[in-house]
């Protein structure tokens, strides 16, 4: 009996498969959900590379640390395409298995997988050769090319589909899929992606996230619409707003939800505002607080997002109107103007609050006669005038100031 090359190959396969069982257990923390035995091919490249061969041998002896590190952080410069392909699929599987028990680990595993796909996208020759063998002329070359180009994006599509499928129930799988989609830029960094590829991947990721968030807010949208038409009790709207806020959390504090909330609930706030139902306004504002704060920060830190400045500012104005403490009211009105310096209602409310403070200061100045207080009051009223010259209380305030010897019109 001669020992042939194929016998050697069979032996290596069996040994790799045996070791891979342990690798899987180490990565996934379970024997369940192990991938197809071909996944053991991930060890081949490591075994054949002189630099990593030792890691495989050590792992066979029970020391897995080096091997696991090599699987976690492959060196993009030394990667072989087939190895990257194994890794992309392996990490995807690990991410699936970790999902219910170890969310962070799952999302990170997904990122590793995305990084490997991104790396493969930059090495199309391997996928093309594989495609040629599979297709064997059954598809015209341009279509093969298209399929190869799409392959690295397929995992984004899968994540998008999961997020979409889970959108209505706000399920964990969908939430994690969205989290992974948000990590596309990092995966691109890990893979050392070029600009063009990065743009493609990020655009696809964004599209999927938008679609999922769209699907998630649709129900709340319908509910709010119905409640607005019915002029329903505020409790109903508060419930919808809270649901939207929950979607916002589910979607990883997504900007789209913030915009939605601001725009969709403003008419209801106006309705209640006109009815002077202050407690309703306050109740409705409560679930909006965190999302609106987040949107405000986005607008302040990125001038290109100015579109939502006025609607967002209006929410701060509402908040200012119903805040229970004077200082808080002032701060919120200031915040509205910080967002949108031309905002009419913001200017009006802030001007009114400034006059109020000015008058309070004047009252104090009357008691103690302090010059500082008078100056401060004058500054408040002066600023109020510059903000909103038509303010009804202004002439009387200026009159009082004049009586104290400060003539703003002089």
């Amino acid at each position: 009996m001669t020992w042939r090359a194929e016998d050697q190959r069979l032996l290596e396969r069996l040994e790799d498969e045996a070791l891979f069982e342990q690798v899987w257990r180490a990565l996934a923390g379970t024997d369940d959900g192990a991938p197809h035995p071909r996944a053991a091919g991930v060890l081949v490249a490591l075994r054949e590379d002189a630099e990593t061969r030792g890691l495989v041998e050590a792992a066979r002896r029970g020391d897995m640390a080096g091997l696991l590190k090599a699987l976690h952080r492959p060196d993009p410069a030394r990667l072989a395409p087939r190895h990257a392909h194994h890794l992309a699929l392996l990490w995807d599987r690990v991410a699936d298995v970790l999902e219910p028990t170890h969310e962070t680990g799952s999302v990170l595993a997904r990122k590793h997988s995305l990084a490997m796909w991104a790396w493969l996208a930059a090495e199309p020759a391997y996928l093309e050769a594989l495609a040629e063998r599979v297709i064997d002329g059954a598809l015209p070359p341009p279509e093969v090319g298209r399929a190869v180009q799409e392959a690295p994006l397929a995992s984004l599509d899968r994540l998008g589909a999961r997020a979409l499928a889970d959108a209505n129930e706000r399920g964990d799988r969908g939430r994690l899929a969205l989290a992974a989609l948000r990590l596309v830029p990092e995966a691109c960094d890990d893979a050392g992606c070029g600009d063009e590829l990065r743009r493609r991947l990020e655009a696809r990721s964004r599209r999927h996230r938008e679609a999922a968030v769209d699907a998630a807010i649709r129900r709340v949208d319908d509910r709010i619409e119905q409640s607005l038409i019915d002029h329903a009790p505020v409790a109903e709207l508060v419930e919808h707003a809270s649901e939207a806020a929950a979607i916002w959390q589910w979607a990883g504090r997504d900007e789209q939800v913030e915009r939605f909330l601001v725009q969709r609930l403003t008419p209801a706030l106006w309705d209640r505002y006109r009815e002077r139902a202050w407690s309703d306004v306050a109740a409705l504002l409560r679930p909006l607080q965190a999302p609106v704060e987040s949107l405000a920060i986005r607008i302040e830190s990125d001038p290109s997002k100015l579109a939502y400045a006025a609607p967002c500012a209006q929410i701060f104005v509402f908040m200012a109107e119903v805040a229970s403490q004077f200082e808080r009211q002032l701060a919120l009105a200031e915040r509205a103007l910080l967002l949108c310096e031309t905002h009419r209602n913001g200017r009006l409310v802030l001007a009114d609050l400034l006059v109020e403070r000015g008058l309070r200061r004047l009252d104090r100045a009357g008691v103690f006669g302090a010059g500082d207080a008078l100056n401060d009051a004058a500054a408040d009223i002066r600023r109020a005038e510059s903000l909103f010259p038509q303010l009804k209380r202004l002439p009387a305030a200026k009159q009082r100031l004049k009586a104290k010897g400060v003539d703003l019109d002089a």
């Binding site: 194929e6 197809h36 091919g41 495609a131 599979v134």
Partner: protein
């Protein structure tokens, strides 16, 4: 909305991605004929469609399956000429196929080592 099924059809049904549609169909037919419950039959039909209807779908599925990094298994070892049971005399070296193991024991292989008379049905397909 159905749950997106993530299981790769090639891997789930143990089909080599480099096989053509006809071979895939033959295999799927065997599978469906053995399947007893309707859910499995439905899954097989869906996989058949995924793998044979449009080549582009087959290709996508193939790219989503682990590649074969170990190479083909190759042919089974050649069968030695038959001998009568009385002629068999086994030694340690006959049991050690791997050259490295033989070398480690300081043994060498005979040019053509005899095998037992293959009466075992696993070894002897005609038995």
């Amino acid at each position: 909305m159905p749950e997106p099924t993530d299981e790769n059809p090639f891997e789930r049904w143990g089909i080599d991605p480099e096989q053509g549609p006809a071979a895939i169909t033959e295999r799927m037919r065997e599978l469906i004929e053995d399947a007893t419950d309707e859910a499995t039959q439905k899954a097989i039909r869906a996989a058949w469609e995924a793998l044979t209807l449009h080549p582009a779908r087959r290709l996508t599925a193939a790219l989503g399956a682990h590649p074969d990094s170990h190479g083909v298994l190759g042919a089974a070892p050649p069968r030695p000429p038959r001998r009568a049971p009385s002629q068999v005399s086994l030694e340690l070296r006959d049991l050690l196929a791997r050259p490295s193991a033989l070398a480690a024991l300081g043994l060498e292989r005979e040019a053509e080592a005899p095998l037992p008379e293959p009466t075992d049905p696993i070894v002897d397909p005609d038995g």
